[in-house]
């Protein structure tokens, strides 16, 4: 069966098995991945995926089942097991399909160019990334140069008459380069993404990986102190992605967010503005509708320093007596929808990186953080994470540093933002985030 047919049948079968409401998400996709090493193809893959996930409601009880068998019998079995699973759940008065159903018209989610690229051409692209990284003086090795893409279609059908589908494509390339030797080996990551390979800049990606590694050669542990800190765009994006996860109404309602009582309050410096935008044509997480069929939209989260709203799906919205913000997020047919950000976008400011560093005057430029997810307490917001980067002396980048930790708490950090950089970029880790570099007034840096 096609994904659309399978989703439709699954809903019918779940209702036939006694569900009061049902929903099915089906997908079909193909993906490619090329990894090159030392000028040769190290691995090349070509994959197909297809499956369906069924959510069955029995009054306020919800069950979920997913599987890869899209035959009539397979779909019937899944629908029945979703309905059966619902029996074991406790009653939840807020559970149910959204009232706000529909799709936002979006152009450009799928690029025909992607399918036109032969695998051989994508290999050339990955090789170009690797060559560009190796060409930079000081690079001792390029561990990885990878090109990867995916194209697929999604169909969502529910028992309240919603039926939607869309196609999307995505292409990425990244490289990880080494500079230095032995215990002083440093690594750097370069990354680029877009709707098709034609928009990727292989030389830029390779040079970025190399540049980040080379800049850290000879890094030492700095002395401990409190000082201004500039986070580069990748690091800023990691923090913003984490903050986005704490703005989920689910985390808030379950007492797992430090932002729980802060809606409408000042949580950040006015320089920082953050929005969730599921409609940005360049956003990897953009789609016409969310994971339960509510139309995608843009939601301002932090503006003028105030926290305007949390992110809601239908269930958390009902519980808070609000409207969904279209943030029922769905990783794949293998998981039921849950509240999550789409694309988090930080509004760019005026200053280029050089100006931010100049303003910091005497401080630290952080290009790499490690252990963010284990190092941040999502409830209290306190964090302590490993980092590497460069010292800032007299308003300019100076000696590289590593094996340091930066510590603080997220609310103080948001309020410490003094300037937002002009050069925003998409970073596909920890969700989908577009962020520029950030200048923070002061953070605690611990070294030797």
């Amino acid at each position: 069966m096609t994904p659309e047919d399978a989703a439709g049948r699954a809903v019918e079968q779940a209702l036939a098995a006694g569900a009061t409401d049902a929903e099915a998400w089906a997908e079909e996709s193909t993906s490619r991945r090329v990894r090159v090493y030392e000028g040769e193809v190290e691995s090349l893959s070509d994959a197909g995926g297809r499956g369906v996930g069924v959510r069955a409601f029995a009054g306020g009880r919800t069950g979920y089942a997913y599987g890869t068998d899209l035959s009539e019998a397979g779909v019937r079995e899944l629908a029945r097991s979703a309905r059966e699973a619902a029996e074991v759940a406790d009653e939840d008065e807020y559970a149910g399909l959204p009232a706000d159903l529909g799709a936002t018209e979006l152009e450009g989610l799928a690029s025909p160019e992607l399918g036109a690229w032969s695998t051989a051409r994508t290999v050339e692209l990955a090789l170009a990334v690797e060559r560009a990284a190796r060409a930079v003086a000081g690079v001792t090795q390029v561990e990885n140069a990878v090109y990867s893409d995916a194209q697929g279609s999604v169909a969502l059908v529910n028992s309240r008459g919603f039926s939607g589908r869309y196609r999307a494509t995505q292409a990425w390339a990244y490289a990880s380069a080494f500079a230095g030797e032995g215990a002083d080996l440093m690594t750097g990551l370069g990354v680029g993404l877009g709707r098709d390979p034609a928009v990727l800049d292989p030389e830029g990606i390779g040079r970025e990986a190399a540049g980040r590694a080379v800049a850290l050669v000879g890094a030492r542990r700095p002395t401990s102190r409190r000082c201004p800190v500039v986070l580069d765009a990748m690091v800023a994006a990691s923090f913003i992605g984490f903050i986005g996860s704490m703005l989920s109404a689910e985390a808030v309602q379950r007492g797992r967010s430090l932002f729980a009582d802060r809606e409408g309050h000042e949580v950040a410096d006015p320089a920082l503005a953050v929005a969730d935008d599921g409609t940005d044509p360049d956003g990897p997480a953009s789609a016409p509708f969310d994971g339960e069929g509510s139309p995608s939209r843009r939601t301002a989260l932090i503006e003028d320093g105030r926290l305007l709203t949390f992110l809601f799906d239908a269930r958390t919205a009902r519980r808070a007596d609000r409207m969904t913000t279209g943030n029922a997020s769905r990783g794949s047919y293998r998981s039921p929808p849950s509240v999550g950000a789409t694309n988090l976008i930080v509004a760019p400011g005026e200053d280029d990186l050089e100006a931010l560093v100049r303003r910091a005057d005497d401080g630290l430029y952080v290009t790499d953080v490690a252990g963010l997810h284990s190092g941040v307490n999502p409830v209290s917001g306190t964090f302590s994470v490993g980092a590497a980067g460069r010292l800032i002396e007299n308003g300019a980048l100076a000696a590289p540093v590593r094996e340091l930790t930066i510590a603080g708490d997220l609310v103080s950090m948001l309020k410490a933002v003094r300037a937002v950089g002009a050069e925003a970029r998409w970073v596909p880790f920890a969700g989908s985030v577009k962020a520029p570099p950030l200048l923070l007034e002061e953070m605690s840096v611990s070294g030797s």
Binding site: L44, S45, G49, S81, D92, M186, S384
Partner: protein, 460 residues
């Protein structure tokens, strides 16, 4: 149950080698799972999954070509094999003859989890919730998770290998939140194994109670100290340190790419003589154990550090071939959607002679790191950073106040060399290890271990 019949498998391998290749492999998997959680006092998210799929891989020289597909339909298998073969530049190879399927050593499953009624699993979660809340008035939230999965795998390759494994894992996890005024703290604990429902049938409320105790303890925590301090690392989950800071650097893919600080150091002394460490995927019933790895190689015990000397790396077939050695049975994959890479199974320090109390008694001022919230390491340098989720001060040879927000920052080689005591209380804990975009169950463990000095980064 047979997912792919041997004659079809042979046909797929021949098709995959249509334009040459040194090795072709067909990996088929049927995965059935069920999970359920309790959150905010409510049983929710009952979820069943039922997946079938195959991965076809051709290795030629230094290159790997592969494809995977959901489902095990004959036409899909042949199409994937054809598509993979198209990427190879060479000439075809002849017929493939498969040996008879070899069974894997069994890890005992006394009670098949899928035979246990879902309502009993829900009751288990409720009992855990109750116990967590009974641990103290300051407990405000408990999240308890139950998961079971059965993975039946079949591996065929063009060297005649035919092997199968039937793996059942069960895991219970608890995350408990405690609050006093503005102070909010979280404690976690897990119990998991390559075993049946019997693993969680008895005394499983202990998991919730331990998580609750951790959260409650942290309410009294003082800010962590900073600086260079002696550190006693707890048993069980404390083994994350070994896993991250040493184990990943011993995985042969990192070593062969010179992306490991341990490359070229076999036979070298890296730790004091009383330190021995293993990776052992054959330990009966442990979380990271399996009968065969995901390339059909039987799992086994590999000594990675023997009396202080670096003894072996961890290999899959591909990397073993390059080094002219045997696979150590560490070719693992998350599912049929991935190719195998060298991964740890259960990795742990062998027990020593000391007692935990003796290790602590020898510290004037230091940190007792009981458990980690996770960590990260750069294998190329061995640099690591770990968040200490449960830690205490050691003052005058005694464990005193709990601390919060501590991180350990250091280097694997330096930390190994600085070990100055190993206790006898080995324990293996259940975790998930992420690498190359793949997450696999990994057992981490150790007895209590003392490190003479590490950089502790705190909140102060």
């Amino acid at each position: 149950m047979t997912l792919v019949a041997a004659d079809l498998a042979a046909h797929v391998l021949e098709r995959a080698l249509g334009r040459g290749g040194d090795l072709a492999e067909l990996y088929a998997e049927a995965r059935e799972g069920f999970s359920l959680s309790l959150d905010d006092g409510r049983v929710e998210r009952p979820q069943g999954g039922r997946e079938r799929g195959v991965c076809v891989r051709v290795v030629q020289g230094e290159s790997t070509y592969y494809g995977h597909v959901d489902g095990v339909a004959e036409e899909d298998l042949l199409r994937v094999a054809e598509s993979v073969s198209q990427a190879v530049r060479g000439s075809g190879r002849g017929a493939v003859t498969l040996g008879s399927a070899s069974g894997a050593p069994e890890h005992p499953v006394r009670i098949r989890p899928e035979d246990v009624e879902a309502a009993r699993k829900a009751d288990l979660l409720r009992a855990c919730d109750e116990r967590a809340r009974a641990a103290g008035d300051e407990v405000t939230q408990a999240r308890i998770g139950y998961g079971e999965v059965r993975r039946r795998v079949e591996v065929y390759n063009s060297n005649g290998r035919a092997a199968a494994d039937d793996r059942t894992r069960v895991r219970l996890s608890a995350q408990v939140v405690a609050r006093r005024n503005d102070r909010v703290e979280t404690g976690t604990d897990t119990r998991g194994g390559h075993a049946g429902f019997e693993l969680v049938e008895a005394n499983s409320e202990e998991v919730a109670e331990r998580a609750a105790r951790r959260a409650l303890t942290l309410l009294h925590a003082v800010d962590a100290p900073t600086g260079r301090l002696p550190v006693v690392v707890g048993n069980g989950f404390g083994g994350v340190l070994l896993h991250e800071a040493v184990g990943h650097g011993l995985e042969a893919d990192a070593v062969q790419k010179r992306a490991s600080v341990y490359a070229g150091r076999l036979g070298e002394r890296v730790a004091p003589e009383f330190v021995t460490a293993y990776d052992d995927g054959s330990r009966v019933g442990d979380w990271g154990s399996e009968g065969i790895d995901d390339e059909g190689t039987p799992t086994r015990r590999t000594t990675i550090i023997e009396e202080g000397r670096l003894r072996s790396y961890l290999y899959d077939l591909l990397r073993a071939g390059r080094d002219g050695v045997e696979s150590t049975g560490n070719g693992r994959r998350e599912s049929f959607r991935y190719v195998p890479v060298p991964r740890m199974t259960n990795t742990f320090f062998a027990p020593g002679e000391a007692t935990p109390d003796e290790l602590i008694a020898g510290v004037e001022r230091g940190l007792y790191a009981v458990s980690f919230g996770g960590g990260q390491v750069e294998p190329a340098t061995g640099d690591f950073v770990f968040g200490v989720s449960e830690g205490h001060l050691i003052e005058g040879g005694r464990v005193t106040a709990p601390v919060r927000g501590a991180t350990l920052v250091g280097n694997g080689l330096e930390a190994l060399a600085a070990i100055d005591g190993v206790a006898g209380d080995l324990e293996i804990a259940s975790g998930y290890c992420g690498k190359a975009g793949q997450s696999v169950p990994a057992g981490v463990g150790q007895p209590h271990v003392r490190i003479r000095e590490l950089t502790v980064g705190g909140t102060a």
